[in-house]
Symmetry: D2
Subunit: 475 residues, 4 copies
Amino acid sequence: MNKFEKVTTGTGEECGVFGAYGLDGEDVAASIYYGLFALQHRGQESCGIAVTDTSGERKMISKKGLGLVNDVFDEESLSSLKGNLGIGHVRYSTAGASRAENAMPLVINYIKGTLAIAHNGNLTNAVELRKELEYTGAIFQTTIDSEVIAYHIARERIKTHSAEQAVKAAMQKIKGAYALVVSSPRKMIGARDPFGLKPLCIGKRGDTYYLASESCAIAAVGGEFVRDVEPGEIVSITKDGITSDTSLAVEKGQEARCIFEYIYFARTDSKIDGVNVYHARIVAGKALAESYPVEADLVVGVPDSGLVAAKGYSEGSGIPYGMAFHKNSYVGRTFIKPKQSQRESSVKIKLNVIEEVVKGKRIILVDDSIVRGTTSANIIKMLKKAGAKEVHVRISSPPFLYPCYFGTDVPSNEQLIAHTHTKDEICKIIGADTLGYMELEKLEEMIPGLGFCDACFTGKYPMEVPGKDVSHAFE
Amino acid sequence: MNKFEKVTTGTGEECGVFGAYGLDGEDVAASIYYGLFALQHRGQESCGIAVTDTSGERKMISKKGLGLVNDVFDEESLSSLKGNLGIGHVRYSTAGASRAENAMPLVINYIKGTLAIAHNGNLTNAVELRKELEYTGAIFQTTIDSEVIAYHIARERIKTHSAEQAVKAAMQKIKGAYALVVSSPRKMIGARDPFGLKPLCIGKRGDTYYLASESCAIAAVGGEFVRDVEPGEIVSITKDGITSDTSLAVEKGQEARCIFEYIYFARTDSKIDGVNVYHARIVAGKALAESYPVEADLVVGVPDSGLVAAKGYSEGSGIPYGMAFHKNSYVGRTFIKPKQSQRESSVKIKLNVIEEVVKGKRIILVDDSIVRGTTSANIIKMLKKAGAKEVHVRISSPPFLYPCYFGTDVPSNEQLIAHTHTKDEICKIIGADTLGYMELEKLEEMIPGLGFCDACFTGKYPMEVPGKDVSHAFE
Amino acid sequence: MNKFEKVTTGTGEECGVFGAYGLDGEDVAASIYYGLFALQHRGQESCGIAVTDTSGERKMISKKGLGLVNDVFDEESLSSLKGNLGIGHVRYSTAGASRAENAMPLVINYIKGTLAIAHNGNLTNAVELRKELEYTGAIFQTTIDSEVIAYHIARERIKTHSAEQAVKAAMQKIKGAYALVVSSPRKMIGARDPFGLKPLCIGKRGDTYYLASESCAIAAVGGEFVRDVEPGEIVSITKDGITSDTSLAVEKGQEARCIFEYIYFARTDSKIDGVNVYHARIVAGKALAESYPVEADLVVGVPDSGLVAAKGYSEGSGIPYGMAFHKNSYVGRTFIKPKQSQRESSVKIKLNVIEEVVKGKRIILVDDSIVRGTTSANIIKMLKKAGAKEVHVRISSPPFLYPCYFGTDVPSNEQLIAHTHTKDEICKIIGADTLGYMELEKLEEMIPGLGFCDACFTGKYPMEVPGKDVSHAFE
Amino acid sequence: MNKFEKVTTGTGEECGVFGAYGLDGEDVAASIYYGLFALQHRGQESCGIAVTDTSGERKMISKKGLGLVNDVFDEESLSSLKGNLGIGHVRYSTAGASRAENAMPLVINYIKGTLAIAHNGNLTNAVELRKELEYTGAIFQTTIDSEVIAYHIARERIKTHSAEQAVKAAMQKIKGAYALVVSSPRKMIGARDPFGLKPLCIGKRGDTYYLASESCAIAAVGGEFVRDVEPGEIVSITKDGITSDTSLAVEKGQEARCIFEYIYFARTDSKIDGVNVYHARIVAGKALAESYPVEADLVVGVPDSGLVAAKGYSEGSGIPYGMAFHKNSYVGRTFIKPKQSQRESSVKIKLNVIEEVVKGKRIILVDDSIVRGTTSANIIKMLKKAGAKEVHVRISSPPFLYPCYFGTDVPSNEQLIAHTHTKDEICKIIGADTLGYMELEKLEEMIPGLGFCDACFTGKYPMEVPGKDVSHAFE
């Protein structure tokens, strides 16, 4: 299931970034458009593109707006965005008022000319940094962390010799999770936080370099995957090629890649830090099969995010994989939701059970997570109504128990069923015959050898977090 | 793959119809909206809803527009469409200029008050009927067949005692393929052409009756499937229940259901004339496995329309089913196409290969049809680039050779690769290792015992068609 | 004051029509756009243009929509409307739901190909004609009289030798007020009803001919005024020039030109049937000065429609003319009206008094009519608050007492202050010091020698009207 | 004539500001909307409103957009702007790309919470101040001077005890022309630059205070004019009433009010610094009559800006005032301009001559300025074609000769006809019989006793200006 419905609170910094630099002068706006299009799953609230012509006046032109990439850009606007260096951004849909001013990239004029910045992630010390900056006369026009980062880069740039050094100095001040893409008049800079919480990678096609949140975006523009930007690494792409600075990285093994990228966020055709997302989900499915075997006739996944883990469970258990659902391809942001009284049919509008497949069968239903439990309950009800004899639910992640301070949009605790109920209670509430969650200790099998963050399951944060005390409060 | 890209010529009458009648006075616009939403795959060009309040003034209110159901309707417009009897329509995207005036339902005032009509299909004698009508002073404001049908109903209504009789008399004049939904002040009438080329079914929830092109739309509104409208049947739903007239039906076994509904058009969760579309595609896949066995490691389908047939091939052959592609969920109508020079990446924007799945594997690739061959060629190229050792293409329909006069949008012959090349040539052109098409004689296994139309493969039309001579010309 | 606010009921057929035929093949869509733009005051609800290329396929292309000419058309849509023969229409804003389907021109296919029709006016026997047509199987898709007219032309065309003859035969059936512009594949036909209630004139620039509701539209496109179409005349413009048929005209002197065209509707720079609208209003103002002299310091008009009559009063009385008001140039259709509680300021947003001009002065305030009296009361209040010592109101038309059946949108009787109150009562209600209405017998001075209709003041209709009895009821 | 067409270069800071503070808690968004609506003539490019609830959370909510007030706001957006303290802005239409990010008010978070700022005017030291700020790490997201002002207020606020003091300290740094409206959490502050180049005034209705660029906006919301903000004055409105600080004002008589506010910008129903704009224009007209008398039959003004001066000329000369033109009320921003080849008719679409008025007459034509001369030439041509025997042009301002650095949008010198031609040449070019410009020495009669700026005519700037050298260059 599309998770965007789950959002109700949170800072909402799951986003996608994409940068392109045509060293031979080729216009990049169209490529950025396609790149963002491939990253649309990472954010549907707003999007934007800023480009500059490195050989000309180096004036930055940008366009941003609320809505999907397809809504905001058309042929006319793309062709007016002339320039061979540019960055783009898709922003997550958060609850509440439309915030057009928060659309990225942030384009600023500063001491060294123009600079555009796009980021994915959440700073944990943003509030303190804002206060500090305000005490020296800073003004803020948005509520996004990019503005804090931009101020730091601008201030450091006065004291340093290059944009890269300014980015590095800024990174020594900011804390939290981030993947950054910055375009300075003739440079495209990418950076990941020292723990590598958010992904970023490099691609290339001909003389054009790309930076992207996920490798799928590089494939979409016909580029070759070059490599991941490493946790803590700053890369700078200029006409002289790529330079790299990895001195801010945490010690090997201390990285804290967000495990949820593999479980849910990223596309199955992306590869992050050497691990295919598809592979990681297959492994998760197999692990579930091992931990919670059950006699059944068919393994099915909740489209789209549960499908690959279901395949893994099938492979692990030897029980056939089936397609139990038709998902409506036209469900999008602007979908008018049925009124509360018709709540059940809200799921039906998105998903319908293929009766023939499930009738008389014992079903293993795989999904990536349970948030409030309502959606799961509705799906199970639909399966049983279609004749499923048993429904065994397997969840490819451990229960959510702790808040995420790094940009993953998890509902507040009262709304998390796992926070207020035991596994047995949940099983009963959703109407499943049995219920199994991915075991914590098996998470590392998904990305063997790679340090990752599982704080939302364990409460063990890779760094100090502002609300530590608050989170203890509800343990 | 989404087929709408294949359209370049043709009459474009693949559409979806949905009607709802709340006998207890319940407003139906929201249900029609969700019903049309479930039928959106049948038409993306325009849509519309017309409702009337059977207990009040019986004034018809309607709203139509170019675009998807989500684009045309919002909460405000839905709540202004007050009425307990209504019909809706989604229209197929045809090439060429936007034709706002062709959006349905057609709402008319005639001798007996107001009448709304929506239909799916194509009349073969529309041109003659228009001429005939014009000779008696008729004026036409659209180019849709509904207007011809409406005229006939209006004229017959003068001579007959009921709307049903007028519909029947009109059906004796019109020829071709159609599924009709008509709302007369206090009746909802549904009808299928005598051969049953286009599907239509009846659903119910509480005191509300539904008519829908496919059963999936009834499920979407939380209704129960009651039964199919039979080929040649006219059903009338009033507060006294359902009445039926089947006297126009062709002889049992002579029906000519469009086989392409099962192969491609209809949703896999729909059941048409007693046969699950999912089931029919599984059977097709199995038949392909039987006809064209090959040693391979994995069977994969082209999303979304090839997936179920691929599953069938896997079941038939015992070769594992795999997911080779990630399909971008945000691809829609307004997508800006890459310029010709970037042609290859157009497919990449929609689909990306999951390298891990196909690397080093011998792949069986199942799709529902080959039109120009370009898309297939690109997909095979992508698979090979991702490391597939062999790609064996299996198509779940026989080659297109003849034009369809009943509303299926098939490109002109020059564009059909099967029309100008042999199977071996096509195999080579698309870069496949082997190629197999569904065998004509096995089509009936998909819907055993049901009469169907396979004229696009055989040229044997169930009735006289206007362009018969033309089609002979290119045989 | 802009009168469109006064509308609450009525049939709303005040409209503007414009046709252009480039005999040398020149595209006419841009000219029609500017022509409609000049006629925008005649209708703000919807507009449309239909063009055809007389030398090519003669396919009709049209675009219609709700809103002002500027909202509906842009450069792109204008340049897609290729053709050297075309007609356009602006439609009046009526109360109630948006009626996109009622936008004109009406474009139809009929026995002789394609035909577009646009009209201004109101048929008095439309209801009977619709019924009659329905009894012979006609279907109606709109509620506009054009559809009735189109049916008659289509039916007559079967029996006649030319489009002109068909138009003439149709005119013998329809009754009421109308100015028609019709484009038949290679002809542009214009016609006025036998009484000449609605205006229509002919213009020319180079080889392009124009038909327009008012001569101002011909000036706007740089054309020369040729002549008026006469009451009852049918003109046909082809590459062979203009032909005329005046056999349907009423007897000289029996014409019934709408006097309100001169009082309020038409632009002051238009000339209708030989009389300048500006001149007619000056005469009206002078007549008022003669009938209701008063000692005063300044004559001011309510912008914009009262300004010229005020000038006339000034000329007639010798009392200086002054500008008492600033009118906000940005007031338009989409203006958000203040809530009832702020009613008074609604006028203030449109008009503001220039204090310096009126302070300490005895003012003669000229307006074209009083409908409900609220606006007049507010304006007088504003003048007095700004220091006017006296306000003497002079109205350049007699009191409205009878309904108009010919397309002038007059509120229902209960809302007409003149219908429920005496002149003295009205004077008191609006807070004027004295009040004078144009005298009935002086109306003819405005358009000496020309027959006109004053039924809204006298109840003496030039022809039988459907609601005669109803109107008697309230006499 | 509407002057916005004249714009081709320049900084474009002619704008309108409006603030409202409901001390009793009344919502102010609707009032701001109407206030901006009344100021729409001061800027049509973009507009915005920012409001805050002084008794609640004091969160600032804002909405800004490209377009007219009517385009950007609707009932829904106005009702979502809840708050009893708010400011709004309309921005001038400048040539070039749309600059959504430059729409005002600028809303910032700074050391003391949230602050909104709107201004009209142009800083002459903006470039230096930006550089200075950048050297201390400032980042800029727009190109508007408000951002520079906001930074200074923010930085000064750290060192000062109140927002008023911070505004004052900022004003000691910035140079140029400005009228400021600032909303700080519980204060509404207004300020004019020491020379008073731009106007600002105070109004009141019940417990709600207003600040507005022109008094017409106060009238539009039903308020009473309280007084002008004085040149150099800072007023602060809180629940304790109005406080004032005038210590920054230049010496009495040294003020430099923009004379063009009286000649052209401001509405005729506004009063600025004690002088009615209407009155000033009457005086200008009289002065023209005195300087350039001519025998003639009629004085006419070019709508709308020449009308009052024409009235003044008529009063001064005793020659009757006439209405020679009908101006199309629907001309607006989105008007599609005729192609170059139809240049002449561009004026005709906006204005049409009322033939009857001018035929055979010797006309005195009054306008406020001549920029390129094209429009004047077209109008004179139209008058002559309509039969005017003579056309004597009188311009109510001296010739433009010097650039304005304070925000008045004057074309570059090459485009100014007065810059490249003598009066006699211009007279000939535009086809006038005689031509007279307002005499420099008579300007002061328009606003007797008030210091004003006439630098665009004389080159004598009230303060140092950045381009002094440049301007000398073309003297």
